[in-house]
Symmetry: C2
Subunit: 221 residues, 2 copies
């Protein structure tokens, strides 16, 4: 499978590239608005994997080229760049599953707070921006950047996955399941996105208030 | 310590009464709008504990009598009865810590959704209704009723606790910690309530979508 990580030079893109690069044989393509930045990140991630004995080819392109012919494209961009990123790559999406891990948050002196767009979730924003025939799946919201990008951090974490297209959701759950120590959990359709997105500021607040709980993940049972 | 469970005939009140009755020596007082119902529930919980070899006295009163002289009063009532319950007992609160486990939810064909009062959290509603000198602490939102009320269910769960009064929060965290298998986690002040309350519909949605995940709890690490 060919996976494009749009905004792949950020923490989520880096972490998913390293994890899928290490744990699977999927083709990993990084996207960025700046192709030079994408290429240099691709080289860096390849070198990180090589230093661990993993030979894999990671390529880097401008976002629309990275999305071209991708089976799955992850919108690893901040929430405020979600819509323009989807619009940039829209013409290249063809049977491509779009994945959004983005969360909208605001911060005050008390902590982080979930801050969705009016009347919806960040994921529904992505779905509204995407072409009608492109399925949008939410996943990977709750993976702490520090743990995700550090291959020495062994996961024992869950990630809730949601989407209205059952086939697309199944594809993303399989990809999540292929990451060592990560368990995808089905949480229904896009209408259930807000409660998943709100988990991220909760994790950040818990980590900041409790000693020894950095790079916090979650397990449901 | 004297703990009043207002609305103590419901699932959350029952579960906390049984757990504190089994695991601690605190005085447990059930409250209800109907004192007869409170007395009969108290008898039932006592009998349940006795059948497990635990001798403890649980009493039942109308809510305002139960709150009288309580060190801690848990608002174990549905979100839409939070304000009127606080108002009913307000005159009896004297150095009493009010605890709210209530969550506002709505349901549609997709699942459960967090449905807070406009501009705030359910917990801030309780704080607004309480006298100014009565501290409000949020806790126990995410304990599945089925598991909580069944003493055969062994916990290995976390419960996030928040509140603006640090002493009151510490008291409630200690009470939570005394329940076997429950780990309280500090999540800051009342301003951080929404993300905690939103965890409950997420747990319900996860339980309904995934086989084998009934009465779901959560652990952060």
């Amino acid at each position: 499978m060919r996976i494009a990580l749009l905004g792949g030079t950020g923490d989520i893109g880096k972490g998913l590239a390293l994890r899928w690069g290490r744990d699977t044989d999927h083709g990993i393509v990084l996207g960025s608005r700046d192709p030079e930045k994408a290429r240099s990140a691709a080289d860096e991630y390849e070198a990180t994997l090589e230093s661990r004995g993993v030979e894999t080819k990671i390529t880097g392109f401008v976002n629309e080229m990275a999305a071209d012919r991708a089976d799955v494209a992850v919108l690893a961009v901040p929430a405020y760049h979600l819509t323009d990123t989807v619009e940039t790559v829209a013409a290249k999406l063809d049977d491509t599953v779009l994945v959004t891990p983005a969360v909208g948050m605001k911060r005050d002196e008390e902590g982080f707070h979930y801050n969705p767009p009016p009347g919806g979730s960040v994921s529904s924003l992505a779905a509204d921006a995407a072409p009608d025939d492109v399925p949008v799946v939410g996943a990977f919201h709750n993976l702490a950047a520090g743990g995700l990008t550090d291959l020495d951090t062994e996961f024992d974490w869950d990630t809730p996955v949601f989407g209205d297209d059952e086939d697309a959701k199944a594809t993303v759950m399989e990809l999540a399941d292929e990451i060592e120590g990560l368990r995808p959990l089905d949480v229904g359709g896009l209408a259930n996105a807000s409660e998943v997105e709100a988990l991220t500021p909760l994790l950040i607040n818990l980590a900041s208030q409790n000693d020894g709980l950095h790079d916090l993940g979650v397990k449901f049972w």
